[in-house]
């Protein structure tokens, strides 16, 4: 089986969907001729033509709005935000228009908005954001956030096929660092709304998503070797709708929960997850629900600052140790 990077898997997923369904098209800045700022759509314009891989002006609001209109008419647009940080320019269209379309007007809006998110790359405050919290509370939007190459492919395909608007967050630090063997000739579809147990364990559960899945796995290995601690890692994969059953299961199993995400502490979705655990699995808790997150500051650029502000493997190890001993 060939080994593909996260980015390549994402490409494959979009390519397959474009081949399978002529209604699928891509729009965004520099996606066509250039193949995308990160080369995610490299080769697409040549294969599918520039009318299906549209180079737009620098106009995120128009990109999202236009995608919505095309989706109403039965097309399946995949709108790219060159950096997900620029989705803020489309906040109005995405939350007021797209998310509410079905509910208030019965308008189907099967579209995907995708873009590179996340830090650890010294990109500074406007090329490193994780915006999921800003949209989590918006009913009508689905949010997916793959951590593995397989899910990068499986989730983009599922998102494109989904009848609802989906925000697809792809972590730029994972793009070329994650390599997996993926079977060829097999339809890889990851169900939206289903979490994945990345690692089984008995003593403590880490609930996480995105790049911190890998840091959590690293931490779990270290804790296993050094402390004999058996840590379970649950990769949420989908943020909306969240897999409550999987979350409850892991809490029931270990009684101790550490929620890890790259987003800031205040208002980050760890709070939402903790509230749900409290509501559904209180009796199984053998310790407080703790979080490892970024500090509540805009993301600074210098490596020493970024490394401090964002959650690192070492932070997860220390936090897990503390909780395990609670």
């Amino acid at each position: 089986m060939p080994e593909v990077t996260f980015l390549e898997a994402l490409r494959q997923g979009m390519w397959e969907e474009m081949e399978r369904d002529e209604r699928v098209f891509i729009l965004g800045e520099d996606v066509g001729v250039y193949g995308g700022a990160f080369k995610v759509t490299d080769g697409f314009a040549k294969r599918f033509g520039e009318s299906r891989v549209i180079d737009t002006p620098i106009s995120e609001a128009a990109i999202v709005g236009a995608a919505a209109g095309a989706a109403h008419m039965g097309m399946r647009p995949v709108a790219e935000m060159q950096f997900i940080d620029f989705i803020s320019c489309a906040y109005d269209m995405l939350t007021n228009y797209v998310a509410t379309a079905r509910y208030r007007a019965g308008l189907a809006t099967p579209m995907v908005v995708r873009g590179p998110c996340g830090g650890y790359v010294r990109g500074g405050p406007f090329h490193s954001q994780n915006p999921e919290a800003a949209f989590l509370h918006t009913p009508g939007l689905k949010i997916v956030y793959p951590a593995t190459a397989r899910d990068a492919k499986g989730l983009i395909k599922s998102s494109i096929r989904d009848e609802d608007p989906v925000l697809y967050l792809e972590h730029k630090w994972l793009y070329r660092r994650i390599k997996e063997q993926l079977p060829e000739g097999e339809e890889i579809l990851t169900p939206i709304g289903e979490a994945r147990l990345a690692r089984e364990g008995k003593h403590l559960s880490i609930i996480t998503y995105g790049a911190t899945v890998w840091k959590s796995l690293e931490a779990a290995d270290q804790l296993d070797k050094e402390d004999g601690l058996s840590v379970e890692v649950l990769d949420l994969r989908t943020l909306v709708p969240m897999d409550d059953a999987a979350i409850v299961r892991t809490v029931q199993k270990t009684g101790k929960v550490l929620i890890v995400h790259e987003d800031t502490r205040t208002g980050g979705i760890a709070g939402e997850i903790a509230a749900r655990i409290n509501e559904r699995a209180f009796e199984w808790l053998d310790g407080p629900i703790m979080r490892v997150t970024a500090h509540d500051v805009p993301l600074p650029y210098a490596p020493t600052l970024e490394d401090f502000v964002l959650p690192q493997t070492e932070d997860i190890v220390k936090a897990a140790r503390w909780l395990a001993a609670y």
């Binding site: 080369k39 790359v121 090329h127 730029k172 209180f282 009796e283 053998d286 609670y326």
Partner: protein, 436 residues
């Protein structure tokens, strides 16, 4: 002379590695600052990389064609500039005395204000200030939801268990270990102190000889040992033996679709007759007798780690099937440690049934504060004299079992015990057909 490292650069945010495609200088060559030194190739771009300083190329660490991660050392340049200390960021400043996290999660370790009680005067009672329980104290007293659940199941008091967790709290491991080693006897309310009316139980010490193995008692063993002594000292133990013909029941069992144990029948028979003989379903309290309103029959279960007595509540209100199910359920939950506090409280009569490998008959010790305990001997085929319809006697093979009841002669006289047992025997030997 200073040595300056040359590393594989990062040409783009998501680039993790680069291939050194060509060296433009050889070891020993002089290089000028910013002069192109080598060429690299990455996913995004090919580039010439300039020397960071003037000097001589002293070492090449990575060969042409090699792909290495970003920041890997590829070469060393020797320069005659005096070595400047590398710009390593110094150690992080000493950690300010930060509060331990546990104080943080709930906010301040503030004492929860006591709920204002409705006061007789119109002036509202202010919430308690300092002097109320701290978070740590509360944690030691109440631990976590999971531990509280386990404590309730096994009827142990968290405060009595040593804790090894945060702030000295009782952890799941602590309480499970405690339970495995010690039997939670009864609820705190009805718990009898091991200092019984005859004083604290002190077991005499014996001398170990060479080769002997000395094993300190587990908690459950100690509690059992103390209870047995205390019970013997408390009650005036007397035993009555009644042999019962279980043949009719054996036939019924063979015909029954569902699995029915002998024990279920015995419990049923006892339950019916305890109502009729209340003194056997009673307790001694000081100079008085407590006649229990309910008939709650405990079934002694021997587990790997000790003895436990789950109780079938209101056994007299259950049908035979209901009793059978209750026995099965309690046994299962006893074995899987899923009993609730209610399950092991408030028994009024106990039955102990060793089962198929048990003795012909035994003399059990009363389960305080009850006044009677029924032991069931092995039930097996034995020869018995039976009177035929024509009045002649013959020997037949019957399924027989000995019931032994130990009872407390302080309030249960011999006649009381025998009358009760006779009725139980009669019911067992003439067990009614159909649904019971």
């Amino acid at each position: 002379m200073a040595r300056v490292d040359v590393v594989m650069p990062q040409m783009g945010e998501s680039i993790a590695e680069g291939t050194l495609s060509k060296w433009l200088k050889k070891v020993g060559d002089a290089v000028k600052r910013d002069e192109p030194l080598f060429e690299i190739s990455t996913d995004k771009v090919d580039a010439e990389i300039p020397a960071p300083t003037a000097g001589v190329l002293a070492e090449i660490k990575v060969q042409e064609g090699q792909t290495v991660p970003v920041q890997t050392l590829v070469a060393v340049i020797e320069t005659d500039k005096s070595a400047t200390a590398p710009a390593a960021s110094s150690a992080a400043p000493p950690v300010a005395a930060a509060q331990r996290a546990p104080a943080a999660p709930g906010g301040a370790a503030a004492s929860p204000p006591a709920a204002a009680k409705p006061a007789p005067t119109p002036v509202p009672v202010a919430p308690k200030g300092d002097g109320a329980e701290t978070a740590e104290e509360r944690l030691r007293r109440k631990s976590t939801p999971l531990v509280r659940k386990i404590a309730a199941e096994h009827q142990v008091d968290i405060a009595g268990i040593p804790g090894s967790g945060f702030a000295g709290r009782v952890t799941k491991q602590d309480i499970l270990g405690y339970i495995e080693r010690g039997v939670p006897a009864t609820s705190p309310a009805s718990r009898l102190p091991s200092a019984g009316p005859t004083g604290p139980v002190a077991h005499p010490v014996a001398e170990p000889w060479p080769g002997d193995r000395v094993e300190p008692w587990s908690k459950i063993r100690k509690i059992t040992a103390d209870h047995m002594i205390m019970s013997r000292r408390t009650s005036a133990h007397v035993a009555s033996f009644f042999e019962v013909d279980f043949s009719r029941i054996a036939q019924r069992r063979a015909k029954a679709k569902e699995k029915l144990t002998f024990l279920a029948f015995i419990v049923k028979a006892c339950a019916e007759n305890l109502r009729k003989h209340p003194v056997v379903n009673a307790a001694v309290s000081g100079d008085g007798t407590i006649y229990r309103a309910d008939v709650n029959i405990g079934i002694a279960v021997a587990l790997d780690w000790g003895l436990i007595v789950p109780v079938i509540k209101h056994a007299d209100e259950l049908s035979l099937m209901g009793i059978a199910r209750a026995i099965s359920d309690l046994g299962e939950r006893a074995r899987t440690k899923k009993l609730l506090p209610d399950d092991i409280q408030k028994g009024t009569f106990t039955i102990t049934n060793p089962g198929g490998f048990g003795p012909y008959a035994g003399v059990p010790i009363i389960n305080q504060p009850q006044v009677a305990i029924l032991g069931v001997g092995a039930i097996e085929k034995r020869p018995k004299v039976v009177t035929l319809p024509d009045g002649s006697d013959t020997i037949a093979v019957r399924t027989m079992g000995m019931l032994t009841m130990s009872y407390d002669h302080r309030i249960v006289d011999g006649a009381d015990a025998d009358r009760f047992l006779a009725d139980v025997k009669k019911m067992l030997q003439e067990f009614p057909e159909g649904a019971v």
